[in-house]
């Protein structure tokens, strides 16, 4: 992990400019969680012209629904969920100022286009490594939709949260290029 790039939130354009696909990055600072049900509610608020439950401008959303924390822990197992289910909502949130997303798995054309348009970055966290990732979360508090249980929106304080740059602001896509490089068919 010695080659990892360390960055601290908020992630400014200046920081994002330097990131390229395949870079291993350790994020410290604040990130917000949100997955299927929370995205649906956020976008319903946008469509009604109402205010969002947190200031989304310049923020990072992490697609995760953690397990309940064991006593003394900030969070339980907390790896990424598959991102494409958030594709119908992500461009609308990017238009509202969302800057980056952390998840796993391919994004649709609409999201790829929005990533380019809004100069955002899509980071991949390691799916099925939730116990390892939980160690990077120092504090978690529910900021909205507590009734959704694991799907509630949480504000996380993270330290050296490990991710890989999948879609950078230069328009490249690691899922496409990585697979092409190793394809032998």
């Amino acid at each position: 992990m010695e080659e990892s790039i360390r960055i601290t939130t908020p992630l400014t354009d200046e920081i994002l400019e330097k990131l390229n696909i395949g870079d291993r990055v350790l994020i410290s600072g604040i990130i917000y969680t949100g997955r299927d049900a929370a995205h649906k509610r956020l976008v319903e608020l946008v469509e009604k012209g109402e205010e969002l439950p947190f200031d989304i401008k310049g923020q990072i959303i992490y697609y995760v629904g953690p397990t309940p924390p064991k006593p003394g822990m900030a969070i339980g197992s907390a790896g990424p969920t598959t991102s494409y289910r958030m594709d119908p909502y992500a461009p609308i949130l990017m238009e509202k100022g969302l800057k980056d997303m952390i998840g796993k798995g391919s994004r649709g054309e609409n999201v790829i286009e929005a990533i380019k348009k809004f100069k955002a970055v899509y980071f991949g966290a390691t799916g099925g490594a939730g116990a390892l990732i939980s160690k990077a979360v120092k504090k978690a508090e529910v900021v909205a939709y507590e009734d959704l249980g694991p799907e509630a929106i949480r504000r996380l304080e993270v330290e050296n949260f490990p991710v890989i740059v999948v879609n950078d602001i230069h328009g490249r896509d690691l899922y496409v290029e990585g697979k092409k490089k190793y394809r032998a068919l």
């Binding site: 798995g105 391919s106 099925g128 899922y175 190793y182």
Partner: protein, 281 residues
């Protein structure tokens, strides 16, 4: 032959334990596959992913934190000896109670909900139970928590016979290719060929619980498994879909006789976190 009694309390206790263990303790076959993957890959990113998988498995086992936050729906295979008499209550209720207790006491995520209202039941019940009657006086329970990142990538298709073995092979490879990074590769590909619509899906699901590296006893099917594994590992998807040589750990095929009009094929994808635990009562 005398009848052997097994109490529902014992079943509940066992299911509770298997739910907790399967979510925190990966089998040696999977750990070995991670180590082999780490050796096989040459890209720093792919190697790093395997190191994370190994570290994750270690933390999970030592500290009892779930391997993955998607602790799945609790799929339970029951092999019920026909000389067993279950006493003290209802088998399905006993299994659900075990799931309820295991998920609560193990700090596992409740994911089960109403399919339409999307209201979460909060205790991860009901389990998905498959019961098979077998000879003997034993009761075998297998708990295989199924995450839905990989489940969502699974399909059943009913081909016309003209498609043939080549067409079936092509379809299986294509299914893994199209799933790309979504099911958290390297995957285990469970394949059911034959039977009816639901039989193909069921044998594909059960195929996933076979240990990695164990071949189908039919040499022709075993050969097909290895051919498919080789082709799939040429796709380039790699761990987490970031590019690499190890896209699948194994391909497990089960077959069943079918109808003259069809080749049913089910492809059930399992993520790298290939969790399952069993016990015999």
């Amino acid at each position: 032959m005398s009848v052997r009694e097994i109490s529902v309390d014992e079943i509940t206790k066992t299911i509770r334990r298997l739910c907790m263990e399967s979510n925190t303790d990966l089998g040696d076959d999977v750990i070995e596959a991670y180590k082999k993957g780490l050796e096989t890959e040459d890209s720093p990113v792919a190697k790093d992913i395997f190191r994370q998988y190994l570290e994750n498995a270690k933390i999970s086992k030592e500290e009892g934190i779930a391997l993955c936050q998607d602790t799945g729906l609790a799929v339970v295979f029951v092999e019920l000896g026909q000389d067993v008499h279950i006493v003290g209550g209802d088998l399905y209720k006993a299994i659900d109670e075990g799931v309820r207790q295991g998920y609560k006491d193990g700090y596992l995520r409740p994911s089960s909900l109403d399919p339409l209202t999307r209201k979460n039941f909060g205790d991860n019940t009901p389990a998905i139970v498959h019961i098979e009657m077998v000879p003997g006086d034993k009761l075998k329970l297998t708990v295989a928590p199924k995450g839905f990142g990989s489940e969502n990538m699974s399909r059943v298709v009913l081909f016309a016979p003209a498609v043939g073995v080549e067409g079936v092979k092509k379809y299986i490879i294509q299914r893994v290719d199209e799933s790309g990074p979504n099911p958290c590769p390297p995957v285990v590909v469970g394949v059911g060929i034959g039977g009816t619509f639901e039989k193909a899906a069921l044998i594909a699901k059960k195929a996933i619980t076979r240990p990695l590296g164990q071949r189908n006893p039919n040499p022709d099917i075993a050969k097909l498994e290895l051919e498919l594994l080789e082709e799939i590992n040429k796709l380039g998807i790699g761990p987490q879909g970031l590019g690499g040589k190890v896209t699948a750990f194994d391909v497990h095929i089960e077959t069943y006789p079918t109808h003259i009009a069809s080749i049913p094929v089910a492809v059930n994808i399992q993520c790298h976190c290939d969790r399952h635990k069993e016990a015999v009562l």
